[in-house]
Each structure stands twice: as C-alpha cells, then as structure tokens.
C-alpha cells in the first residue's frame, strides 16, 4: 500500500516538518500574527526564500499547524465520549486523558487556545471548522447513549458544544498549571471534575 517516497520528497517533508516544529516552538511566547517568516527560517537554519517552497505565508503555515494539532485528535475524542462505565468513572477518565494530552503536546494545546480567537482569520476559521467537527462527532456518540432518549437533535448539539468548550477550558487550565506544583494540578482536576459533574446532573434531568 504505502508508496515509498523518493529521496527528494522525503527530504522536502522533513524540512516542512522542521518548519512546523520551529514555528510551534517560537509560538510559545508570541502570537501567529507576529511570527515572521525570516524568524522561522532562521530557527530552522535555512534561507528565508526556502520558506516559499512550502508555504504561501505564515497564515498558511498556521493552518497546517491547526491540522497537525487537531486533525489526529478525532478518534481520541470519539472514544473518550463513547467509553462505557459509571458517569463518575467516565468523567475521571476524560479529565485524565485531557491532562495527559496537555502533558504530551503542550505547544499544540497552547497554539490552539491562542489562535482560536487570534488575529489571523484563516487560522481562526480552520480551528472553528475542526471544533464544529468535534461537536458533531460528540453529538453522534451522545445520541447512542440510552440517556439521550427523547432528546432533540438541537439539544444534543447544544450539549456537545458544551462538552467541547469545557474540554478546551480544562486543557487551558492544565496548560497554565504545567510548571506549577502538583497541588495546583490537583486543584484543576477537582474543579474540572465538579464542573463536568454538574453538567452531567443537568443532563440527566434535562427532560424533567
């Protein structure tokens, strides 16, 4: 199945990835709208003009970063929501999964949180599109739950968006607590758990 890439294409993808990595690192302490093309090429160790062989602009690079950061996350979100077990267990598992993801890919999480409302329109658009996809996928999983019997499609989507937003808020809190003592991370876990618990309670009494 897998077509082995020629030396040429392999090398190109390698430098392209180097651009993405370097940009992500630089974006830890600034926003995409202030990221310079030369700044990135300097970090990669390559001539400024080489940038154009891969991206039309830094905005274009940003869109590619959105795909890298969120594109591979769909299966994880899907399985997280559809996981079985007690409501309380599911909440704990979801939050732990978020915490682990933030630990593993802090720069990606920071990038999404930062650029979701950032100054570069195409990037905002790309993030919004991915989040809408998340919400729709969550909705599909929620619909499978017996608790969703009698729920309208609109209400299911409403709840799905609530979950997606809550996921982002929690991820952002874990990010802020990354270098903080364990005590602080525990506080975030507690807070997020209680909030999800309240939403879960509201969910189970929605049709009353």
């Amino acid at each position: 199945m897998s077509h082995t890439l020629g030396i040429r294409q392999a090398q190109k993808q390698k430098t392209r990835q180097a651009f993405l990595d370097a940009a992500l690192a630089l974006l830890e302490e600034q926003s995409l709208s202030s990221l310079g093309l030369r700044e990135v090429t300097r970090a990669v160790g390559v001539a400024p003009t080489a940038f154009y062989r891969h991206f039309r602009s830094t905005a274009d690079l940003g869109v590619a970063l959105v795909d890298e950061a969120l594109g591979s996350l769909h299966p994880m979100v899907r399985t997280t929501v559809s996981t079985t077990g007690d409501s309380e267990e599911r909440i704990a598992r979801a939050i732990e999964l978020i915490a682990r993801h933030v630990d593993a890919y802090p720069a990606h999480v920071r990038f999404i949180a930062r650029e979701r409302h950032g100054g570069v329109q195409p990037v905002r658009e790309a993030i919004r599109a991915q989040l809408v996809r998340f919400a729709e996928e969550v909705k599909v999983e929620l619909a499978k739950d017996p608790e969703a019997a009698g729920w309208s499609d609109e209400d299911l989507l409403m709840l799905a968006h609530l979950y997606v937003d809550q996921m982002l808020i929690t991820a952002s809190l874990f990010l802020e607590a990354l270098e903080a003592p364990e005590e602080e991370r525990e506080r975030v876990t507690q807070l997020a758990t209680r909030q999800l618990r309240l939403i879960s309670i509201g969910r189970s009494h929605w049709l009353d």
Copy 2:
C-alpha cells in the same frame, strides 16, 4: 470633590485615550504581540516618541486596555447575577445583556477574547486577575440565593467560574455573529439559553 484638571493634564489624558482608541481599532485584525509602537502613533497622528510619555511599551498599553475593557464591568456582572425573578427570566435577561454589551463594545470584547490566551504575558495575567475577581463576585451573589443553602464554598466558586466562562463563550459567539443576519444571532441566543438552562438544572439538583 472633583478636582478640575489643569489644561496640561487634561490634554495628556486626551492623547492617552487617543492611543487606547487607536490601538483598539488596530487590534481588530491582529494581536497585541504584533502591534507596533510606530503603528499606533501613526494612527493617532503623533510622533513615535510621544508614545513613551504615556506607556512603557505596547504590553503596558495592553494592560491599560484590559482595565478599560473589564474594569467598569463589575457592577453590571454583579447586578446581572443578583437580579430577581424566575430562573428562565434571569437567563434571558443575562443573555440579552451580553448581546447588548457586545453590540456596544465589540472591539473591547474581541480584545479580551483574543488576548486572554494571547502572546503577551502581563496582559494575560491582567485578564486572568479580572476574571478571578468576576468569579469571586459572582460567588458572593450566588451565596445569597436560597438555592445555595448547603453548598460548600468550593462548589460555589466552581459554579461561579462556570458562569464566567460561559459568559465569555457566549460573548465570543455574539461577536462572530455581529455582521451576520439576525437569524444567526437568534441561533446563538437559543444555544446560549439552552446551555445556561442545563447548568441551571444541574445546579438545582447538585445536592441530591
């Protein structure tokens, strides 16, 4: 009581405000970390060096903008939460208030949403501090409600943060729908209403 400002101080405050206004306008399509000092002075119609008479840096200007955007909002939030009436009425009133605020000060709302996770640390810090204040104030108002009987302080603060975050999410949605047809704004209102309703339901069954 009010000490009439001298011609000099009055003029200084006037140009200072011109800086804030110009910066806010420029920040509609970029982030603070990419806002140049010269860019702002050009927009105001003043020499670049004049900037230093008012701010140490653009980050400093950003902090001032945070105060302008959120500082005067506390009484409004306080009264919104403590307003009397049916739960459904309160939700509708709160959302309408948010919608009106976004209409009246779209640039301020955009600035806060953008820089909350933006690339300038002192500004992030300033926003976070104000949001913590909001949450604490909301907590105090929630505690007065008879429904809060038996609630722990921690749970009240948890709920308060949920409300504050929800307020920002809703404001951001109204912002995106600003130039959209009335139909879209109505969809946002519906969504936000249902989400607040679910939270309200969860709240009333919290102690079950």
